[in-house]
């Protein structure tokens, strides 16, 4: 019985803190960099989702591991637009062919181009600190050095 009041009080404090925290995460204009997806990029993301590309590929290391990470595929040496389209057209190993129209392929490439602009993965130039923390190398903005 005596736990109930204390528990409710702590719960109330946690919920107030959680509400403020969520409000900040949802509304912040400065926490996520300056790159926004264009309408064409959003259509490309729809194609990415409709074909569940994320089940095999990762963006920022998040996704399935059967295929490679594609965060910076657009700007990688010797890769880019034609390389992406060739794999979509032909498939390889466990990757099936995808029958996308030229317009859809353009939109998908646009999406990957804009994702590429948001940052690096793997973050090869991240700085490891002696306390275990890692300072990321940012592409468009700089929060820490």
């Amino acid at each position: 019985m005596h736990h109930t009041k204390k528990t409710l009080l702590i719960l109330a404090v946690l919920i107030i803190a959680f509400s403020y925290y969520n409000f900040t995460i949802y509304t912040s204009k400065s926490c996520y960099g300056k790159i926004h997806l264009s309408q064409k990029g959003i259509k490309g993301e729809d194609i990415w989702l409709k074909n569940n590309c994320n089940s095999c590929h990762q963006l920022y290391g998040l996704g399935g591991y059967l295929g490679p990470d594609l965060t910076n595929i657009y700007s990688a040496n010797g890769k880019g637009e034609l390389y992406i389209k060739a794999f979509v057209n032909s498939g390889i190993k466990a990757m099936p062919k995808f029958n996308l129209s030229e317009k859809e392929k353009d939109e998908l490439v646009q999406y990957l181009k804009e994702v590429d602009q948001t940052g690096y993965y793997p973050n090869l130039n991240a700085k490891i600190r002696s306390n275990g923390w890692v300072n990321l190398k940012y592409k468009n903005h700089d929060y820490e050095n």
């Binding site: 949802y26 400065s30 926490c31 997806l37 989702l49 089940s55 095999c56 998040l62 059967l66 903005h141």
Partner: protein
């Protein structure tokens, strides 16, 4: 007197019939989830294997759908059983909503109809029946339990909290579809993993609450579940649920305070359950251990997996280690160690506790389950270790050997993938033996009630 007891018991059983339906559906989901996982594993070894009919992009979401359904359905079935007096119409409505929605999602995946983000790849209209199912569960739970809420032990708080936060975070996971959020990719990926991390925390509230309940009942002593320590851990777990999710996205280029904050909180999460189980084991008599042999053995195995995962979680929550382990199978080892190693053992312990009460196993069935547990646990340990090896190799390739192409790197792991699949087959066989015996026992109970 005996007649009255039996009548009362039969009445309670009839009220709880749907809790056994939930549990049965959960066990069948587990079987299907393992099958989908194994087929997906084959594609690592033989890339062309059924790739046109059931590609990896279909098998992976099916695998996660069924395994997560197992955790939900078994936890919910157990809770309905334990609270006993729920509204039957709401329980039936909840059951059929989840079964029909789950079937619809599976069919949607099989027909390659995807729309959502990772782990929630289904078309967005499925959001509504799922959320409604959780709301019905919440209405039923709070209507049944609130009258006695002043004397709630910690596990009732955990279950109530898990239900409320599941509705919230499941909704949050769909916010990216709103125009306000849609074009900000980095905010979306941050939100996606915030919601994902927190709804895992929500179902952990259901599962850890179940473990605390089962441990209290096995020991016949509810005092620990009402102690200051149990409440401290409950509130610490809730703090983690709310704020400790960002170790998934240390590598995302968002503001560092988001990651700093999560780092400082997430380290405490595993100590919660470890301490609870440790304290409970210390105080348990030999007689009680003998009465609930299987439930006890399974809870001890959960304890071992808590220890292994605690160690791994602590390591990969350190950003300088996470930098190398992120995006590798070490993360999968952690998530599978949690869902299969901890959650599954706790839920199997809960189910065997219920079945040992309702329809005690004959010796042969008990022996078979014990063999199944040994096979499952042994092969799962191998499976877990192999994933750590695969993850270490991927981390090395990512940072130090990118002159080798991804295809060449995958080929170099061929024999490791074969071992990975063999261990996968082994753990599937072990779990199938256990699940078969449990389903046989449940069928006996349902037939008796009908």
């Amino acid at each position: 007197m005996v007649g009255l007891t039996l009548n009362t018991k039969t009445m309670i059983m009839k009220t709880n019939k749907y809790s056994f339906y939930f549990i049965t559906a959960g066990l069948i989901s587990l079987l299907l989830g393992l099958l989908a996982g194994l087929l997906a594993g084959f594609q690592y070894v033989i890339p062309d294997f059924i790739k046109e009919t059931l590609p990896f992009s279909v098998l992976r979401p099916l695998h996660t759908l069924f395994v997560i359904s197992w955790i939900f359905l078994a936890a919910i079935g157990g809770i309905y059983y334990y609270i006993k007096k729920g509204n039957q119409k709401l329980i039936i409505g909840h059951f059929w909503l989840f079964i029909l929605t789950g079937t619809g999602i599976a069919l949607s995946y099989l027909s390659k109809n995807f729309e959502g983000k990772e782990y929630l790849e289904f078309p967005s209209y499925f959001y509504f029946p799922i959320a409604l199912g959780w709301i019905l569960f919440g209405i039923n739970y709070f209507r049944t339990m609130l009258p006695a809420f002043k004397s709630w032990p910690a596990y009732y708080w955990m279950w109530g909290t898990g239900i409320v936060f599941m509705v919230y975070h499941f909704t949050e996971a769909h916010l990216w579809m709103l125009p306000y959020f849609r074009d900000n990719y980095i905010q979306n990926i941050t939100l996606q993993w915030k919601a994902g991390g927190s709804y895992v925390g929500s179902w952990n509230m259901l599962v850890y609450g179940t473990s605390l309940y089962v441990m209290s009942k096995i020991s016949g002593d509810d005092s620990y579940a009402s102690s200051k320590k149990a409440f401290f851990f409950y509130l610490l777990g809730l703090t983690n649920l709310m704020f400790g999710w960002a170790h998934h996205i240390y590598i995302i280029p968002n503001a560092p305070w988001i990651r700093y904050f999560a780092y400082s909180i997430s380290m405490s999460e595993w100590v919660v359950l470890f301490s609870i189980i440790y304290d409970w084991r210390k105080g348990l008599s030999k007689e009680k251990k003998a009465t609930y042999t299987l439930a006890f053995q399974l809870m001890i195995l959960a304890d071992i997996w808590v220890f292994l995962n605690l160690f791994l979680a602590l390591l990969i929550s350190i950003p300088s280690i996470n930098l190398f382990t992120h995006g590798t199978h070490i993360t999968v080892a952690h998530s599978m160690g949690t869902t299969i190693g901890i959650n599954t053992f706790i839920l199997l312990s809960s189910l065997t506790y219920i079945l040992e009460l309702e329809n005690p196993f004959i010796q042969l069935a008990q022996n078979r389950i014990k063999v199944g547990i040994q096979i499952f646990n042994g092969f799962f340990l191998g499976f877990w270790i192999i994933m750590l090896v695969m993850g270490a190799k991927k981390g090395y390739w990512t940072f130090f050997a990118q002159n080798i192409s991804f295809a060449e790197f995958q080929d170099s792991l061929h024999w490791i993938y074969i071992l990975f699949t063999v261990f996968g087959i082994g753990l599937l066989v072990g779990l199938y033996i256990i699940v078969y015996e449990l389903l046989k026992n449940i069928k006996g109970i349902i037939n008796r009630v009908d």
